[in-house]
Symmetry: C2
Subunit: 452 residues, 2 copies
């Protein structure tokens, strides 16, 4: 029987980061990472395998990310865990004794049970599985008409990539807009317009009644009765935790199958940690369960687990999920952090929003300058920033992280007004009209001048 | 006699922001901004007038930035202030009575008194003066060999721009490296190498003995005795506050001529505020006087003055200068915030540094991906982040602002390790290897594992 100090199950982002952080902080301990996939794809890079990346081999996380850190790697499937004996059995019959166990067992695409036709030939999902994805991508080559069900990030990104390969792509979304769970209207509307200008057909507010076909798909019927012809359908309506092995081991899950953890990422078994998509998320502001699954959140959880494996640090705990989304369509980036205005109002916050549109280089006459739009959402009571959205050039990817950092540290618009920022003609907005500060200023003024 | 509620003297970034913020927060008050320049140049854009911008007219701040906010604008020179009578006299003989006065009177290029030849023909400085700069740029067209004295940001940026116009440019810097006051060695060395690869000659550790010539310049002699031929010399060795009018009015200055202000940006006269380059800076960490002059710092001061004009806000005070520098040479951006390692050690901090080099898109095989290098400097005692430097693609401009925000809020490397960030293939580093977090992790590990 093999014996390790730390066994990590799962080789995607969360598993890798938990193992590497753990080993880095506990270099004397023996670590083993076990995963079922021969090769692991970069999760956020998956949509780009459908277009921009010439081969899925360009989207592989090198095993050296694990092995160079001094962590043993085993390809194989964990089939059972015995919490009392502290052992894990694998599909090849091996039994591994662990001191600490980290579950990074991830999620799988959600396929609605009620959706007729979901199992027809040429109906595909988008799992984190290179073998399956390579097969889908190859099959799609011979098809022309593709329908994507679901206008979230994966659905939108894959559709834009398929359009680059000249497919006739239709995105069907039940909600009133694409990217609805992340963005308020200004940003969603712009993303939709840009995507449409690139030739993608988008039908929002359109629920799917069924997927039609005999053995292979030939189209979908909307709730409205409209039929849309399709050679292939991509089903991209979310992911569910892949936690069977944890359930069988008696580890506590919530009602949706997510593993319950504390702020050190420990399950109800003191020596078993869990991180990533398989773990229950709780919203930073409300502590309500959240269904956000993001590699970046997973990695934050994984770092915290890795550090806390052998001794708890009150300085390094998970403070609740702050969804930070970013994407790009063409050369326009879209990003959001925290609550949207819609979400904040639904939760019951009295909110004030501030918007500003500037430029991302200055003067705006410089080559390559793009508009930069920022919206902040704050609590009227105290000016605490609840959320923000940005739209513009490539620097929006880090700009949203600045807003995210402010949110996580419960900063107010007053803090932002005092904040010193660095600006440069070729890199940022001008110091006189830095959009994040101007949006904060607008909120500060509204709070100050209101008459109750 | 004209009577206004608020008179702002100075029309560059700090004056504009003080006026606009003040008017925005106090819409019922009457504001007047007076400045001597017919047109105001974007200060950080000045170096790009020497090359990339086809005309200086592309680098002008539109007067509508002031007038659209409901602020009156007067072109003219303020010549004296009477603090008792609360009036300002201008060169055209007008007398303006103010309720509150904001001095945003800026800085002028420093010309060392001891430097022989500094007043020869074709020796130029780089003031914020469109008429002067237009003249310099026109004259430089006919010259080939140009020597820039001073390898700070202005010197480096102007030299790179002149090189684009095929000039033979030599930068002479007395300190051991270019951009020495902002960056540690890795970043300065890289900036120097890139600048040299673009054809600029750089001589560091080279003091200037004198500028040679009869009526017009013909070269410079270094302290080493070496002679460098030059058709023109650009003197770029810093700026000094332009505070004569304040001195004559009896407003308290420090020993270097900077106006002394409190944390609300008030001078020793209760109704007179001062902001920008003309104001004494104090370092955020040490409260020592600092000689950093940045438009972004000036604008932070100006916002605070504008808000505090009629009633003080303890939420909106100036917390001390955090220098946040950014620049770009070609398609590589360089930026720093807070203290460099060298400065922190000189101040007496026991520092730990963490470095990480990653990529700014992921997978790194995506088109346009660039290396992204991050260095953090933290206090060993508690992990508080004292400073940071970054190098990479265009997103470094906002990445340094994220680090700057962490510094201003006295965050630790432990905070950074818990931080959730957003990542996207086309916009950022991967979540598994986000350089800011990896650099913080390195420091956290060093603090944890040290044996005292």
């Amino acid at each position: 029987m093999e014996k390790v100090d730390v066994l990590v199950i799962g080789g995607s982002a969360a598993g890798i980061v938990a193992a590497v952080t753990g080993k880095t902080h506990h270099p004397d301990k023996k670590f083993l990472l076990i995963r079922k996939e021969a090769q692991v794809v970069v999760p956020c890079g998956i949509p780009y395998m459908f277009g921009s990346l010439e081969s899925s081999d360009k989207n592989v996380i090198a095993d050296s990310a694990v092995t160079n850190a001094g962590i043993a790697l085993k390809i194989g499937e964990a089939v059972s865990i015995d919490r009392q004996a502290k052992v894990c059995e694998t599909s090849d019959g091996a039994v591994i004794n662990y001191g600490k166990l980290v579950l990074a067992i991830g999620s799988v695409p959600f396929v609605p049970g009620w959706l007729k036709g979901a199992n027809l030939e040429n109906v595909f999902t988008v799992p984190k599985n290179k073998v399956y994805l390579d097969d889908v991508i190859k099959k799609l080559e011979s098809f022309k008409k593709i329908v994507t069900i679901g206008g979230g990030f994966i659905g939108v990104e894959v559709s834009d990539e398929l359009r680059k390969k000249n497919k006739e792509v239709t995105v069907v979304e039940k909600l009133p807009n694409i990217l609805w769970s992340a963005f308020d209207d200004v940003i969603s509307d712009n993303a939709k317009k840009i995507l449409e200008n690139r030739g993608v057909t988008i039908k929002t507010g359109s629920g799917v009644k069924e997927i039609e076909g005999d053995t292979r798909v030939r189209g979908i019927t909307l709730e409205s009765g409209e039929f849309i012809e399709a050679d292939a359908v991509l089903l991209s309506v979310g992911y569910v935790p892949d936690t069977d092995i944890a359930r069988k081991a008696g580890i506590k899950l919530n009602e949706n199958g997510f593993i319950k953890v504390d702020e050190y990422m420990r399950t109800d078994s003191p020596d078993i940690f869990a991180v990533g998509d398989c773990v229950e998320k709780r919203d930073f502001f409300t502590r309500k369960p959240s269904n956000v699954m993001l590699a970046s959140t997973a990695c934050a959880e994984a770092r915290i687990a890795g550090i806390n494996l052998f001794s708890l640090s009150t300085l390094k705990t998970f403070i609740g999920t702050i969804a930070i989304f970013s994407t790009a369509i063409g050369d326009t980036a879209f990003a959001a952090a925290g609550l949207s205005k819609r979400q904040a109002m639904e939760e019951g916050f009295d909110v004030v929003t501030g918007k500003f549109e500037g430029v991302d280089k200055h003067p705006g006459s410089l080559p390559g300058a793009k508009k930069q739009f920022v919206e902040l959402i704050a609590s009227r009571e105290c000016g605490v920033i609840l959320g923000g959205g940005v739209m513009g050039g490539v620097s929006c990817g880090e700009l949203i992280n600045l807003i995210g950092l402010a949110i996580q540290n419960r900063m107010t618009v007053h803090n932002i007004l005092m904040t010193q920022i660095g600006t440069h003609p070729l890199l940022t907005a001008p110091p006189t009209a830095y959009p994040v500060i101007k949006a904060a200023e607008s909120i500060s003024r509204q709070i100050k001048t209101r008459k109750d």
